[in-house]
């Protein structure tokens, strides 16, 4: 899982670097809020093929104890994992249900 990062803010021209350059990554930006549908893995049926992990663009699926795990902070709810799972064990549930 990715450690959510911090927002970086500047109060004045004195604090900014010479030129616009990165000082951190985008993990303060919880793209999970973009999601309407929420993929849920049914671990009883999951065969650990890692195809969902392979095709998640973000990446928002990580591997924990040899099993795929969805990082809901960042999963954008694109549904690729749902569609590509060969045993159809990832359900797409409406958010907030």
């Amino acid at each position: 899982m990715f450690k959510p990062g911090k927002k970086i803010e500047f109060k004045s021209a004195k604090e900014i670097p010479l030129t616009p350059m990165s000082l951190g990554d985008m993990t303060h930006n919880y793209t999970g809020s973009w999601r309407n549908l929420r993929p849920e893995i049914d671990y009883d049926r999951c065969i650990d093929c890692m195809i969902c992990w392979k095709f998640c663009p973000e990446p928002a699926i990580f591997i924990e104890n040899d099993r795929p795990k969805i990082d809901y902070y960042f999963c954008k709810g694109c549904g690729i994992c749902v569609q590509e799972c060969p045993v159809k064990c990832i359900a797409f549930e409406e958010e907030g249900k």
């Binding site: 951190g24 990554d25 671990y43 663009p57 973000e58 990446p59 104890n65 694109c78 569609q83």
Partner: protein
């Protein structure tokens, strides 16, 4: 949750994630998945430059970046020339082992950046030039490019005047520069994708990689269809996966013995919705003819090499 399995999983692509989430790619963006794979293949000893394209936005605004490796954002038409400069610097500074990657969209490659690309290829600059091809100018809102295929809708080729010109054959154009390595890859074939990037990194000189990169909003398709559409592009022979070495040795990487009809590929994308049966038939014929042409080159390469 079930109990922890004893059997260790085996992964077909590298486990390490260099790219970070939280990036600004749309849901199901093929270009974003392409970057994730490319970084897995290339590792961290790389320097990227990215001209104006969706990836200038995806990476994140100042002061953030999602790719975890050094990156120079640059003007739209300069991917190849900037990479040439970076490569020259790494040479004089004794960092020749660093891989230099130009990462551009189809607009930045087929159109506005083509002169710089052709120049860099002619000089055989030691860079990997990657074109992620989403077949239009997506950053500016889906305008047609030289990579937009026959029949497609874009905002500048509206339904009444959909594009009636073919897509430039970019890998043939690049092969004609006789550079050591030209390949195309597809995000639905990650193993082939990563193998080709690793191979490119091991070769000196100019390497050109053309990435098939679906774009759900630009192609008017469901984001969960990204992999399905990408796979169909191969299975229908729309996008034959090949490698071309030194401009003459052609290898087919994924065989397609029983091709699906091109309509299967087109029908998932709203940008082709307006096409008549006759037009679909025409596209099918073009695809068949191109496949035969490429297969002849593959066959010829076998004879030639043997």
């Amino acid at each position: 949750m079930t109990e922890k399995k004893k059997r260790k999983i085996s992964l077909s692509i590298p486990a390490e994630e260099i790219m970070r989430p939280g990036n600004l790619a749309c849901q199901g963006c093929g270009a974003s998945l392409a970057m994730r794979y490319a970084l897995k293949a290339l590792g961290r000893n790389v320097i990227f430059d990215i001209p104006a394209c969706c990836w200038s936005v995806i990476d994140g605004p100042f002061p953030y970046s999602s790719i975890g490796v050094p990156l120079l954002h640059m003007a739209f038409e300069t991917a190849a020339s900037t990479a040439s400069g970076i490569r020259a610097a790494t040479k004089v500074l004794g960092k020749e082992d660093t891989t230099v990657v130009a990462w551009a969209g189809d607009g930045g490659t087929f159109d506005i950046g083509f002169q710089a690309l052709s120049g860099a290829a002619e000089r055989n600059e030691d860079i990997i030039y990657v074109c992620y091809d989403n077949e239009a100018y997506m950053n500016t809102g889906i305008q047609r490019s030289g990579a937009t295929p026959y029949g497609a809708w874009t905002t500048t080729t509206p339904v009444k005047h959909y594009k009636k010109l073919p897509k430039k054959d970019i890998i043939e154009i690049m092969a004609a520069h006789r550079i050591p390595y030209v390949a195309n890859v597809n995000i639905a074939y990650p193993e082939d994708f990563i193998r080709k990037f690793k191979k490119a990194a091991s070769i000196k000189g100019t390497k050109f990689i053309h990435v098939f990169s679906p774009c759900p909003p630009g192609w008017k398709m469901k984001p969960d269809d990204t992999i399905k559409v990408a796979k169909l592009a191969v299975q229908t022979r729309v996008f034959p996966l090949i490698e071309i070495e030194h401009g003459i040795k052609y290898t087919l990487n994924v065989k397609v013995n029983k091709p699906k009809p091109v309509f299967e590929y087109l029908k998932l994308q709203g940008r082709f919705k307006h096409l008549t049966e006759k037009e679909v038939q025409r596209i099918q014929e073009d695809v068949d003819a191109y496949w035969d042409y490429i297969m002849k080159k593959v066959e010829f390469s076998k004879e030639y090499a043997g």
